[in-house]
Amino acid sequence: MSRTRLSEPAYGILLVLPMFVIVVGILFLPTAYTIGLSLSNFSFIKGAARSFVGLANYFAMFADEEFRSSLINSVFFTGVTVVLELLFGLVLAVILNRKFVMPGLLRATVLFPWALPTALNAIIWRWLFNPDFGLFNSILVTLGFSATKINWLGEIPLSMFSMMTVAIWKTSSFMALILLTGLQTIPADLYEAAEIDGAGFWYRLRRITLPLLTPSILLALLFRSMDAFRAFELPFALTQGGPAGSTQTLSLFGYRQFFQFLKFDTGSAVSVIQFILIMALGALYLRVFRTEAD
């Protein structure tokens, strides 16, 4: 059959175009529009005047005590959970990096927390943490500490630590998977050579494992910290941001601005602030990545 063939590069671009259009339409343009909204006094009321207000919304947000504390909560939450998830994930990966029994069961077990919807997981843990009928306090009573009915989700700062526990439980195994793959790319003879030279476990860990694992670690850290900073459904379903807003993350605060108070102008400012911070985080990691790669 004869038909005019598109040149190679043109064809390539043609194939990518549909996805490009959709991604730009769903991710890029809305974000740009949000930036625009954040600089205006948008309101849903038909016919309401919409005008440019500069950085007024941003000033309003930074002056808001609740916004500031949500920001701090997000930073605190991200910092602690990511570090601990990395730690536990690393330990788990190192242990699993051997021939193990029942690999099928192991894989399914390690994969399960990842497959759980975050919101439903939060609900499950909310039930576990229930102060009067939950599993944890029930166990405490059975073990004889009946005076101690711990208010897991109703005290400051305990509720934040409870929320972090849920996040760490859910994501450590995923971290382990990523790190395990990284571990498996390390040539075994490096270890053998080190063993022959008499190197101990810690030495091998510090001098071989960690350096060669650094790219995987950085990648895992990158994705995980971006996710943690965006945490929404966990506080939404677990604590609704309580008690007294102590577990309210930036995303939850933003959500309230948009969908509880219908304030799309200040809410957009919150979105943009979060966006800038996440992109900055990404850029930071890329910087570190590049220096490591050299």
Binding site: G12, T181, Q274
Partner: protein, 283 residues
């Protein structure tokens, strides 16, 4: 000689026992929440709210399952999830396989940039896109509509599918493509007949990961599918508690039911999913 062998076998047995114990430990650690949810779901309300606490049900009952399956909208929610996730997965596969093939195999300027571009896009926080999408989709009548959410999910999850697929595409030897070209196969035919079938593990991995992630997605589903009859399972259950109450007997039952499909998928296709998830990590 004998002593050494015995001690080595003992040490071997010791290690094996430890390994089994560790597997047991992991299983308990990662499955106890869902086990507790299951136990709660077969208890009577009296048992659930009993004090001192009961661990095992005194009279296991299926009453909660009846109430949830026949008296609530859970069936509808799960149907919605199935429809939304299936349609989204197909859509994502379509767009990302075209793009993935192009990026993996066709030489054009900017293909490296595009890959990074898509990856960067996927990191945009939902909070940045949800409000704008809400405003636009309302005008376009795409709220409370399967089409709207499928389009949104396509944009959201194509990048990760692209990443997985292009990694698998790259592993296919060039010669196979060359011979296809010689046989007169056009680009699209090559993709359909050769690339995809040879990357079945990748396609399966991408499909499963996208399916599971769309099933679990919360923020967009919360906002774009606000009508009760259209809620997905994850959102529907999370919103089930009203302003006054948290009917735990129903919520635990519904949660358990909603998790079964996901659990089944991840258990059966564990290798493929893990392969897909770590494909990017290995790079």
């Amino acid at each position: 000689m004998t002593d050494l062998t015995t001690s080595r076998t003992l040490k071997g047995t010791g290690w094996t026992v430890l390994k089994y114990l560790f597997v047991l430990f992991l299983v308990v650690l990662f499955f106890f929440p869902i086990a507790w949810i299951f136990l709660t779901s077969i208890k009577t309300t009296g048992d659930i709210y009993a004090w001192p606490p009961t661990y095992l049900p005194h009279h296991p009952t299926l009453k909660n399952y009846e109430a949830v399956l026949f008296g609530s909208k859970l069936g509808r929610y799960i149907l919605n999830s199935i429809i939304v996730s299936s349609l989204s997965t197909i859509s994502v596969l379509f767009f990302s396989s075209l793009a993935g093939y192009s990026i993996a195999r066709i030489h054009f300027r900017g293909r490296g940039f595009l890959l990074i571009f898509f990856l960067a896009m996927s990191m945009f926080p939902q909070l940045s896109i949800v409000p704008s999408l809400f405003i636009w989709f309302r005008k376009l009548g795409l709220i409370n509509n399967y089409l709207g959410i499928v389009i949104a999910y396509t944009g959201l999850f194509s990048p990760i599918s692209l990443w997985i697929l292009s990694t698998y595409f790259r592993t296919i030897p060039l010669e196979i493509e060359e011979s296809a070209k010689l046989d007169g196969c056009g680009r699209l035919r090559t993709l359909w007949r050769i690339m995809l079938p040879l990357s079945i593990p990748g396609v399966i991995a991408a499909s499963l990961i996208v399916f599971i992630q769309t099933w679990n997605e919360f923020f967009l589903a919360l906002v774009l599918l606000s009508q009760n009859l259209l809620r997905t399972a994850t959102v529907g259950i999370a919103l089930y508690p009203g302003q006054y109450s948290f009917p735990w007997e129903l919520i635990t039952t519904a949660t358990f039911l909603a998790i079964i499909p996901i659990f089944a998928l991840s258990a059966i296709f564990q290798k493929q999913i893990i392969g897909g998830l770590t494909a990017g990590a290995v790079k």
